[in-house]
């Protein structure tokens, strides 16, 4: 027969379960607002990374250049979100 865990362990598990449920109760109504805020932050970051390619002088280009290949994958979604139907980059035709 399986032994019952000690009382302290059960209490801790109960507290953790209650805390988890409270966390879900706290977070769920605002998931969308957080996702939107994160998206906006990422969009600004994309603009910073691609600014030189888009013709906007960027003094930090030297440091951000190596991030370009990593972010190309997300570039298409980004320019569509920005309301640009076709890729604005001459050297990168994603669509």
């Amino acid at each position: 027969m399986a032994q019952k865990p000690p009382l302290a362990g059960r209490t801790a598990a109960l507290f953790a379960a209650v805390s988890d449920r409270l966390g879900e109760f706290y977070a769920a109504p605002y998931r969308r607002a957080f996702a939107k805020a994160k998206q906006e932050e990422e969009d600004l970051f994309m603009l910073l990374i691609f600014s030189e390619s888009l013709g906007v002088p960027n003094p930090a280009t030297f440091y951000t250049l190596e991030l370009l290949p990593t972010l190309y994958e997300d570039f298409h979604d980004w320019h569509r979100r920005m309301g640009i139907e076709r890729s604005p980059l001459d050297g990168f035709r994603c669509c």
């Binding site: 507290f15 209650v18 805390s19 449920r21 409270l22 966390g23 879900e24 109760f25 706290y26 769920a28 109504p29 605002y30 998931r31 969308r32 607002a33 957080f34 996702a35 805020a37």
Partner: protein, 558 residues
């Protein structure tokens, strides 16, 4: 009659409604399927679509729909006696609200979690959808204006509640920082937050805050309304994690504490109801309870706003289709319980019939103040707290409900203004701060346009109720047409639909006469807009059902 008996009758009726009627609706009308894959699974994205435990989902569905409205409406409506208000709340919850809220959840989950707005366009057509958008905008506008007036009235009448009401914002700010910046678990901040909130009640009792009789020519109510709108404007611009999210959360916890306090105190004290069952001696100027009762109590009986929550967020998170009965129907039952508590406070919390008549000396004179004063006597008698402390606790409860609804309402209204900016290409309106100012200006115009000093904003309560019922009518219409397409019985949804539309339209005509008589031209304009919307909704509903019936007849003939 003893209030305990009334509570037992209400709880027994709600239990029977849930166990028998909602089961019948679930099995025979909505035909819930335990194997149906809900949008939370088929469209799972970790943001909007997330399968959620049914108890947690019920918790935030219930706290999202419960606010000050199920307190204010019943506390105004008992002017006709406690009988009509009690019967409408109990039967309205069981046969109207439960079916409506449950149905909105079912209809949305069966259609990829689409909102009732989008479903209206799909099922009834684009014209009905435009009406729907207009009704929502008016409803938000009235929510903000009415609730600012409600809170301002509480702050003036109960100065001991000023510190805890504003202190709740401080508690929320600290919880927000602890959770977001310091990643603290929620259990202890919740417990300590609630304790601090109630400790502030004692501080407020010792240090009441009264505003000067006149400041720049403004009365205290006017001053509070302005401060509340300034606060709501700032709150709506701040990131949600800073204030809105923890404030909603604390308010949710407080809802459960408040319900326990009120029901516990009534059971212990067992007060007698001093108000008449049917008040045949209503003050001069009180309208007839048919149809006004059915729009004065919207939330607490049936409310269109619940459909927005059910289809906006809850339907995207429901784990199994069979959970919809618990989340939707039982969410309405929770709201009904709050409304019953408000009826008890406003009728059993007074020493004599004369005391009660003194409060209910004219239509709309009772309301939330009667809830606080009557409820305080019950809580004091039941729990042994002082009447003053009990009144402060109930004032804080009502003001926080109204405050969180106002915060969210203003934020939503700002989004609507920004959307208008997008559609019309007016760049300035897209700016969050300018959009907030525009939303605030609309609310202020309504609050002060309805009466001097802003206090006349309460005049729009029945109009707010009518607009809310109109929204419920639209949702029921969508559900009815969906059921017709599925060849299911529609009478259980169609009867509430027809009842709500008829009562709302008659009430709108009566209100129109009253507003014209008083020369409230702003309200006359709003009333005409809502009346036109109600007539169009009735027409659209009739046409949609006729189309469906013809389609069914054609198919049968073939």
């Amino acid at each position: 009659m003893n209030a305990t008996i009334l509570i037992i009758i209400a709880l027994a009726a709600f239990a029977a409604g849930y166990y028998f009627y909602s089961r019948f609706i679930a099995e025979r009308i909505y035909a819930l399927d335990p194997n149906f894959k809900t949008p939370a699974h088929t469209m799972r994205d970790g943001v909007d679509y997330v399968p959620t435990d049914k108890f947690v989902l019920w918790g935030h569905h219930f706290t999202s729909v419960a606010g000050a409205a199920p307190i204010v409406g019943p506390a105004i409506a008992v002017i006709w006696g406690w009988g009509p208000a009690f019967v409408w709340v109990v039967l309205g919850t069981i046969f109207f609200a439960g079916v409506h809220d449950f149905g909105a959840l079912w209809a949305s989950a069966r259609n990829r979690g689409l909102s009732i707005g989008a479903l209206t366009a799909n099922v009834l057509g684009p014209r009905a959808r435009n009406i729907f958008m207009m009704v929502i905008f008016l409803l938000l506008l009235m929510v903000n204006a009415v609730f600012a007036v409600v809170i301002a009235g509480l702050l003036v009448n109960f100065p001991t509640a000023v510190i805890p009401i504003w202190g709740a914002i401080g508690v929320a700010l600290v919880i927000g920082q602890l959770i977001y910046r310091h990643k603290v678990g929620l259990l202890w901040p919740s417990v300590i937050g609630v304790i601090v909130l109630y400790a502030l009640v004692f501080v407020g009792q010792a240090v009441p805050i009264v505003l000067p009789e006149s400041f720049l020519g403004m009365a205290p109510t006017t001053q509070w309304i302005l401060y509340l709108f300034i606060y709501a404007g700032i709150a709506s611009i701040l990131p949600v994690w800073v204030l809105l999210q923890p404030r909603d959360y604390i308010n949710g916890l407080q809802l459960f504490v408040g319900l326990l306090l009120l029901y516990g105190a009534t059971f212990i004290a067992g007060p007698n109801i001093v108000a008449p069952m049917f008040n045949s001696d209503v003050p001069a100027g009180t309208p007839s309870f048919i149809p006004l009762l059915f729009v004065t109590i919207a939330c607490g009986a049936v409310s269109g706003f619940h459909g927005l929550v059910a289809s906006g967020t809850s339907s995207k998170q429901v784990d199994k289709e069979t959970d919809e009965r618990f989340v939707g129907y039982f969410g309405a039952v929770g709201e009904g319980m709050l409304a019953v508590a408000a009826i008890i406070c406003a009728t059993a919390g007074f020493a004599s019939l004369e005391d009660w008549q003194g409060i209910y000396s004219q239509f709309s004179a009772g309301g939330v103040n009667a809830f606080v004063e009557g409820g305080a006597n019950i809580v004091s008698a039941g729990l042994g707290l002082g009447v003053g402390i009990s009144a402060t606790i109930l004032t804080v409860m009502a003001a926080l409900f109204a405050g969180t609804t106002m915060d969210t309402g203003l934020r939503l209204q700002r989004y609507v203004v920004q959307e208008v900016g997008e559609i019309t290409g007016i760049g300035a309106l897209k700016n969050g701060t300018i959009a907030t100012f525009v939303a605030l200006a609309c609310c202020l115009a309504l609050a002060f346009g309805a009466g001097t000093g802003g206090a006349g904003g309460m005049l729009i309560w029945p109009l707010f109720g009518t607009t809310n019922q109109l929204l419920a009518g639209l949702t029921l219409c969508v559900i009815t047409v969906m059921l017709m397409r599925l060849r299911r019985p529609v009478i259980y949804v169609a009867v509430p639909l027809v009842f709500l539309l008829v009562m709302s339209i008659i009430a709108l005509f009566i209100q129109l006469g009253s507003f014209i008589g008083n020369g409230d031209w702003l309200l006359v304009t709003l009333n005409l807009v809502v009346l036109a919307a109600a007539l169009i909704v009735a027409f659209e509903a009739f046409m949609a059902m006729r189309r469906e019936r013809e389609a069914i007849a054609t198919q049968a003939a073939e």
